[in-house]
Point group: C2
Amino acid sequence: MAVQKPSIPKGTRDFSPAEMMRRQYIFNTISSVFRTYGFAPLETPAMENLSTLLGKYGDEGDKLLFKILNSGDYAAGLDAEALRSASKICEKGLRYDLTVPFARYVVQHQGEIAFPFKRYQIQPVWRADRPQKGRYREFYQCDVDVIGSRSLLNEVELIGIVEEVFKRLGIGVTLKINNRKILYGIAEIMGHSDKMVDITVAIDKLEKIGMENVKAELRERGIEDEAIAKLQPILELKGSTAEKITTLRKLLLSSPMGQLGIHEISSVFDYVERQGIALPIELDLSLARGLNYYTGAIFEVKANDFAIGSICGGGRYDNLTGIFGMPDVSGVGISFGADRIYDVMVGLNLFPSEVDFATKALFVNLGTEEEAVALTALRAVHNAGISAEIYPDAGKMKKQMEYANRRNIPYVVIIGSNEVAEGRATVKDMRSGEQSSVPLDNIAQALR
Amino acid sequence: MAVQKPSIPKGTRDFSPAEMMRRQYIFNTISSVFRTYGFAPLETPAMENLSTLLGKYGDEGDKLLFKILNSGDYAAGLDAEALRSASKICEKGLRYDLTVPFARYVVQHQGEIAFPFKRYQIQPVWRADRPQKGRYREFYQCDVDVIGSRSLLNEVELIGIVEEVFKRLGIGVTLKINNRKILYGIAEIMGHSDKMVDITVAIDKLEKIGMENVKAELRERGIEDEAIAKLQPILELKGSTAEKITTLRKLLLSSPMGQLGIHEISSVFDYVERQGIALPIELDLSLARGLNYYTGAIFEVKANDFAIGSICGGGRYDNLTGIFGMPDVSGVGISFGADRIYDVMVGLNLFPSEVDFATKALFVNLGTEEEAVALTALRAVHNAGISAEIYPDAGKMKKQMEYANRRNIPYVVIIGSNEVAEGRATVKDMRSGEQSSVPLDNIAQALR
């Protein structure tokens, strides 16, 4: 067979051990917080029936699905025209997100599930997007949702999770919050409840393009100046959250839906305050979020000290499972962006140093007799739960030290003939260069 | 859009929270042992170029690859004949195992890797096999390998890992070990070193079909009786491992390769004994294992008290990376069969009870005032690192108790108006039915 120069498909990545240990630190931290709040893990298959996926992400999304060629003789009995139709030769596709498989799971297993159903899911998704910096064709999503309860306590619980996750990771963040019902109320008092999507798409850009450009875009979308004049004071609301809410309540007086949204958001703020949640939370009336299935609270989290898009976001939806025949099931969820969180932590140098080594101590291997002593000592270190290994071949100290350095191993344990004679080991700290002599029985202690 | 009855592709599975918690217990136990021995995690993409995968698993394997339809207009410029050729419309496929992607990774990144390279990899693989009981189209593999060292210490380390993993999981196991060089030596003294594969395929069936049938199969494969007469005493060797090795050394005297195999295996046994590894290890000369890339030690692990195939297996290979242009890199690895381990643990009732609940305590929700007190108490329980949740809607005790039961939550914390007045909570053990009254500050302690 000809020798091939190996490579991987564009837009996909290998994760080296150094990257994986950092990624696992992030995923373990997040899932540990999810578990503390009583959320349980769920996994769905990578492949879903195309009938499950198609039509759920818009026409653009349909084009970005990776389709799996039917196995066996996919072309059997098909003419050229049929072969040009992906739906004739593919029945399955790779999941595009975790939301649709979750909805599918809930509907399929509704009889076995105790509602409210609290689940988290950390799995890769695939999109045939054009690869570019920060955009991949395979990436992990990390979703947490509770479905089957309308209680605002669920929103508050998710805020508590956001606070705890970023506290544990050491990232200073601000949570922005808004409510789709308020956005509807705004459209309503503008006299354009039918154009809510146009309006929210425009005001979502406020931070990026500024008020004048938002107004220009609204005009282009057929909103007259009189309506825009009602919007502007809302977007320019100043003061504390309580002050904003008081003013907003007056401005949206004629919209029952708007009032409901204000009630929801002020209830959430009340809960947050009573629970002593210290996370900075900002009511941002320009926050809209793209996904149109949100119907209540919407969230977005940004890092305070690192310029990157949102690192976490989500909201409440009322009809996720409707498409699969189970209407009126309300839920709320958020999703953590692992790749961006990784970039923030690298940028701010936040990974604890112990995340960066797989092995805490390398036992050097200096010959048959020394090796035998080292193996016994190593076993005791393993039994103490400390990660350690022995260099598998007896040989030059220098080469073994280089190996320890390349693998970022912080301690080297040297057991040479002198040490064997004395019943001791030399433990070398590879960062400081310091060496200390310890009894063979005390190596685990010295490494702690 | 029409309502669809949701389902998943045949041969794939959803893993419910209850199953996931058990699976994670297995994966976490295994990876924690890997980490103790200094192995670091690696992940490769689900999709590989088909050029990486094709030709690596035999003709049968090629047929079982899931192929990804090229994105965009896959049919552009292709005539009907071309459209009938999967290689024209698919460039990528889903990985079939973790071994080939690992070899591809090592070759592609050889400049960055410090050898010996110790990695583990726990990811799903996909095979378009006909689904049947215990055989799925998507399943996890769980591989640990060290590559770039010929030292037998690596074999011993893997045996140590096997011992520790199954000790922690509580599964009694026996490790069977053999060596491909011994099998070659056997073929050699039979005068059929060219028929080593035929011979090993036949004797691999010894346990299943018995000696007479093995002999019949060998005859069918063109091995004459005289040669078979040399094989039989080897397969019928009795006594301790040391006795078997002594006899074998004599029987294979004329095969240098056989002698090398015996030297390797007896060295491994010596190490195991000196290290005090208590795992039962059996020298099984009929053990062959299917994969032809093994060149030295081969392993297989079986559960002692549950009838199922091997739950772990592996061996040494000398040329895994050769296909990608990097010859003569020796490695050794084993793979844990997570699905079978799961079945054994269910069958023997080995999962600790704490694996089976996501939430340790449910705080019931009995109204606005009670909820406020409960939320404060809940936050303290979370801060103590105990998984707990509050029922999100105030309502009937009975419904909330049912929810706790259905979710397998072992404790319920009741804070009603009496409890609020007294500054206490009632903690109910859902299994025993016992109730105790504790001060609000002491709930975490009571739940420990």
